[in-house]
Amino acid sequence: MTPRIELRHVSKTFVGSGRMVPALDDVSLKVMPGEFVTVIGASGSGKSTLFNLCVGLLDPDQGSILIDGEEPKSRLGKLGYMPQHDLLLPWRNVLDNVILPRDVQGVARSESRAEALEMFERFGLAGFERDYPSALSGGMRQRAALLRTWLTGCDTLLLDEPFGALDALTRKELQDWLLSVWQEFGRTVVFITHDVDEAVYLADRVIVLGSRPGRVVRELAVELPRPRRQGMVADPVFGSCVRELLGDLGVDT
């Protein structure tokens, strides 16, 4: 099978105020179709840089990035990207916010609105179509941002700490909801987090990035059955995964 995303020996160094700051060093990884991969690492491990490289906002200094087995001239618009902040546009109501990628693609408003409305129920946003983002809670804003990413129509979704700013309960609720949506529609997800429990709970496979410069220090397959249940955190497999990952991240276990 062709990987959705493949990074071959990718390095990236930033030059800032006369200093060279290496962000990623010789990173190679593959994401297979339908997979749910989480990427974990301490701050400064270049997680967001990794995504910016994948979506084409940055170009690697060395190495190559393949999407569906090809190295396109521009990667912009080929992957669904959800940045850390929801970045909903305050002047668009929720419905018009989520169809933003369709606007960019030049799809007629009436068509993309109809397409989006079908998904509102599934994304837990029904009844909020005409509200402005300022009226939404944090959890609802993330749902809207996720629906916007969904509507890019890209098979592969890159989610950068989407639940990082949410309270613990909302976060768990959204984790389960994300997993159910993922299983129902079978898209490929790459999910950045700095929360070890979250990384294990969601993933088929966890990729650990080491710090300064970021490089892949480990890939760990999570052998827990699907569908996942929050009760599985008490499972010994879960516990051993968390312990290993914490060890890789240099936390004393």
Partner: protein, 262 residues
């Protein structure tokens, strides 16, 4: 009720002030050419209504033409400054200096260049109004969120799409702030132009009234000028509310007031 909250307080205050003015004019013993009474001002306005209406027409024509030109110049300059950082560095100080030039010094020069008539008046309106428009539009454009721009680029948006979907909408609130300031200055700017350049608008009416010590007519012209400015201000605010419903959504104001943050 909005009327009671927003409209009634200033109306009551104005009524009290006019009443105070009435009593002072009546009992202080000042002559009517020093301080005319409210009734005297109204009478003077009514008696010269033909002249006054014509003057309003002339002044408003110059104001509207001037505003339109200032709008084009302001928005154009802001776009240039935004597209081209070198232009920003080069132009910004000049823009500020342009506002320190004595309008009373430059007005006669404009009359020498353009002759008597509409042109010098219009130029003065432009001089007054393009500055707030340029600065506010440029600041608005600069304020758009780089992360949102990155998101659109990641979606594959072209430069023009980024402009249309992020940069322009996020600049609009600031632009309207500038426009409100500009229209508030504009009528006064036009009367100054007419005062110096002699085109037959409110400025000339004011000048002639002053020269003949018709203080009541000076007051009348002053109030008419204010009313016109306020009318323009309200018109822009009305447009703003229609164009930027998200910015003026009632839920925002209620959030602030409801939480007692004021």
């Amino acid at each position: 009720m909005k009327w009671r909250r927003d409209v009634a307080p200033p109306l009551v205050l104005v009524a009290v002030l006019v009443l105070g003015w009435f009593f002072v004019a009546r009992w202080s013993g000042l002559g009517s050419f020093v301080l005319p009474s409210p009734g005297g001002v109204l009478r003077a306005a009514w008696e010269t209504r033909g002249l006054l209406l014509e003057a309003i027409g002339t002044t408003m024509l110059a104001t509207v033409i001037g505003l339109a030109l200032a709008l084009a110049a302001g928005v154009g300059l802001a776009a240039v400054v935004d597209f081209w950082p070198l232009a920003r560095r080069a132009l910004y100080p000049l823009l500020v200096v342009s506002q320190t030039i004595q309008i009373l010094a430059i007005a006669p020069i404009l009359v020498i260049w353009f002759g008597f008539g509409l042109a010098p008046t219009v130029s003065i309106v432009v001089l007054f109004c393009f500055f707030p428009l340029t600065i506010s539009t440029a600041d608005g454009l600069a304020s758009s969120d780089p992360e949102s721009i990155a998101l659109l680029r990641a979606m594959g948006a072209r430069r023009t799409q980024v402009w249309r979907m992020v940069r322009v909408p996020s600049a609009l609130p600031s632009f309207f702030t500038g426009l409100r300031m500009a229209v508030t200055y504009s009528v006064v700017a036009a009367t100054i132009g007419e005062w110096v350049g002699g085109s037959p608008g409110l400025g000339l009416y004011l000048l002639r009234s002053k020269n003949s010590l018709a203080t009541d007519q000076v007051f009348a012209a002053m109030f008419v000028t204010s009313l016109l400015s306020v009318a323009l201000f309200l018109l822009v605010r009305g447009i703003e509310r229609v164009v930027l419903p998200w910015y003026h959504s009632s839920q925002r104001q209620e959030q602030w007031e409801g939480q007692g943050i004021y």
